[in-house]
Symmetry: C2
Subunit: 412 residues, 2 copies
């Protein structure tokens, strides 16, 4: 009977993952840059806006001329013209003068503020009463107020949100460098597994992991390549792994977690030149039989076959690996991906093993939500469907007591 | 000077949105069903698994024969054969007998539990010592234990997560009905706006909203159709809206938020037969000039032109509309999309108006994170880039005091 050599802790595995360098960058059009990772620091090469702009409909004036104006005592202004949208006003605003202006219009020379149209009463063609004083700069977006030239606006490694595309648009970045998306080849194995479209004969079950793992990979903003199902046949499995290495940075095999099969998975991994077996068992539950071999900047992973174990190890190890390959800034705080909750029952664990427990969340009036453990074997995909997330029991803890505050790592 | 008629509250607008029916369903392949919305209740039409399966490598036995076995007193069993993966075992396990079995193997007749290989010591070809007692059902996944036939597993309207695809796979649903994704046509308008690829002349700025709004629409799992930039020209704008109505369920025009332009946006909306102007101003900041016209199950939206206002109103109104059109179960709790925080300064507001304030979050030791208001006019996209989310000040509140607990609605 074989035993695991050099079982790694979760922390050691994460440490290995951090040593993979990011992929190269590529250029994409701005409209395709949503949820991509910025490949260079974004530095503003011009002011935004490049001129003083009105932020309201109203009248451009010299602020000092409005001082003392009010509901009961409006100030009378001579209207010297109108600012047309998208053009440089030719008019100049002098003392006691006002120019009609629209939101986004360029402030005419002489003016330093805008009185909103709501506080204006037209006296005749050439005159307007303004009943509200404004300070210099009021209702105006000053040149460079949104973005000042030469400022670093977004750091390399930043995941681009909708508003980030907005600032890139404002600066005219119609193309930009982003990190390439990692590709992940996915292989399911096991003689007892049949494709989803087939009726499983006696003793067989359908392939679950191809679907759960590829959907997870997509949710991590990487590209799954489904290589399908391969029987417990070393030659065919090696062929599938070779195909994965041709097309992807990461190859996942799930299944074959029985001791015998696991051994030939290791042999297959070792059969590639320069393959370095780094992980052969992890002190984690579920997920103990995880295997990883590194080939330069590529990696081969043997994930457990059980549906829950495959998903948990994918989240625990493959997700941070893909963040690393994507060039993501790993220090960024992911606000909202966890929820504080209160555990509703005792959960035992074993010293020297890190445990991940499925929990579902339930509202609890005004208090913290309840984290209710979803019990069940790691072969039961239904337990993941019932759960909202996972809680962690540390390597040195022997369990968590009912009533303990816990941090729930949310799915998605 | 025109004033708004019938300004609506945010609650009234959301009420109107809830009256839109969901789109029709379509059939997609399982591998394309991630992040789609289930179009029918998922009912299990068979047990999963359809037979008792081992969840470990080891020996299948009659549990009662192991009672009393232990480290010091192993029980001796006759090995009657091996269960091959993916096939029905022909062997039968009688009293004092054991069959070698692998993870996922079908339990042979007679056996009701599995002793893990770690507790087995081979004596010779035909005999094994087992040093751990097991209960009936131990290390076995019983028929129907994962999913029992006829059970409703996932309700219609459920957003499919990776694990949900797993259970669909287990049941052999290689194709399934999901709601069609809503399509959203996006138009930017304003004579002062130029396309991103162009150098803005004096008095002009680049189109931001096309990019921020289409990235938001994608993040809401709907399909943006970018119709580009149209000048302040009623005929051309009407043509773009008509094109949008041909291709999409929702048409967004942003810009043209100055009073004059806003008026002809309403005229354009009204020029379509059966168009019903439902919203002409909302008591919200930013976002007051929002307009909406309904045409059957389609809707035309006039969003404010300011970059921040366009994004906030899109999140506030278009996001729930798209959830509604997508068939989403609106009662589902979105765990983790908000964060509790403490406000770091007084924020004034106005009674009778619902305010949305940009905030950035900062860690605060072991306490709740700090919500720091990001001040700045609603024309400054940089304020959205600096922010992590929004806080809401209710219709009847006149502001929030420094130190107040607040709920932050996170971006993404």
């Amino acid at each position: 009977m074989k035993t695991f050599f050099k079982v790694k802790s979760v922390a050691e595995v994460l440490d290995m993952i951090r040593r993979f360098p990011p992929l190269e960058t590529e250029t994409v059009a701005l409209e395709d840059a949503g949820a991509r990772v910025l490949g260079t620091n974004l530095v503003a090469d011009s002011d935004v806006p490049e001129f003083d702009r009105s932020s309201m409909d109203g009248f451009a004036v010299r602020a000092r001329d409005t001082f003392g104006a009010g509901e009961g005592l409006p100030a009378l202004f001579e209207v010297v013209g109108e600012v047309f949208m998208g053009s440089v006003p030719t008019i100049k605003v002098g003392p006691g003068q006002a120019a009609r202006i629209w939101t986004g219009g360029m402030l005419p020379r002489g003016a330093d503020a805008v009185v909103m149209v709501e506080y204006a009463r037209t006296v005749d063609q050439g005159q307007v009463e303004l009943s509200k004083p404004v300070a210099p700069g009021e209702n105006v977006i000053l040149q460079g107020e949104d973005v000042a030239a030469a400022q670093v606006l977004l750091p390399k490694g930043h995941l681009l949100r909708p508003q980030d595309l907005g600032i890139l648009a404002a600066l005219g970045k119609s193309n930009l460098a982003v990190y390439r998306r990692p590709r992940v080849a996915i292989i399911s194995t096991g003689d007892e597994i049949v494709p989803v479209g087939e009726m499983p004969g006696p003793g067989k079950i359908r392939d679950i992991n191809t679907y759960t793992l590829s959907a997870l990979i997509q949710s991590y903003l990487a590209m799954p390549i489904r290589l399908g199902l391969v029987g417990d046949n070393p030659a065919k499995l090696r062929e599938a792994v070779a195909q994965g290495l041709d097309q992807a940075e990461v190859v996942l095999i799930s299944g074959g977690s029985s001791v015998g099969v696991r051994d030939y998975t290791v042999e297959i991994f070792n059969s590639f030149s320069d393959a370095e077996l780094l992980i052969h068992g992890v002190s984690v539950s579920p997920g103990k039989p995880t295997i990883m071999s590194r080939l330069g900047n590529q990696s081969l992973w043997g994930l457990p076959g059980h549906a829950v174990s495959a998903m948990v190890t994918c989240g625990l190890f493959v997700r941070p690996l893909l963040r690393q390959l994507s060039g993501r800034n790993l220090e960024e705080k992911n606000w909202g991906l966890t929820v504080e909750a209160v555990l509703t029952r005792n959960v035992p664990s074993v010293h020297g093993r890190q445990d991940y427990i499925r929990v579902r969340l339930q509202e609890n009036g005004s208090g913290l939500p309840l984290a209710i453990p979803v019990l069940g074997k790691s072969g039961l995909i239904s337990t993941m469907v019932k759960a909202d997330g996972l809680i962690e029991i540390g390597l040195n803890d022997e369990g968590l007591l009912k009533g303990s505050p816990v941090e729930v790592f949310l799915f998605n």
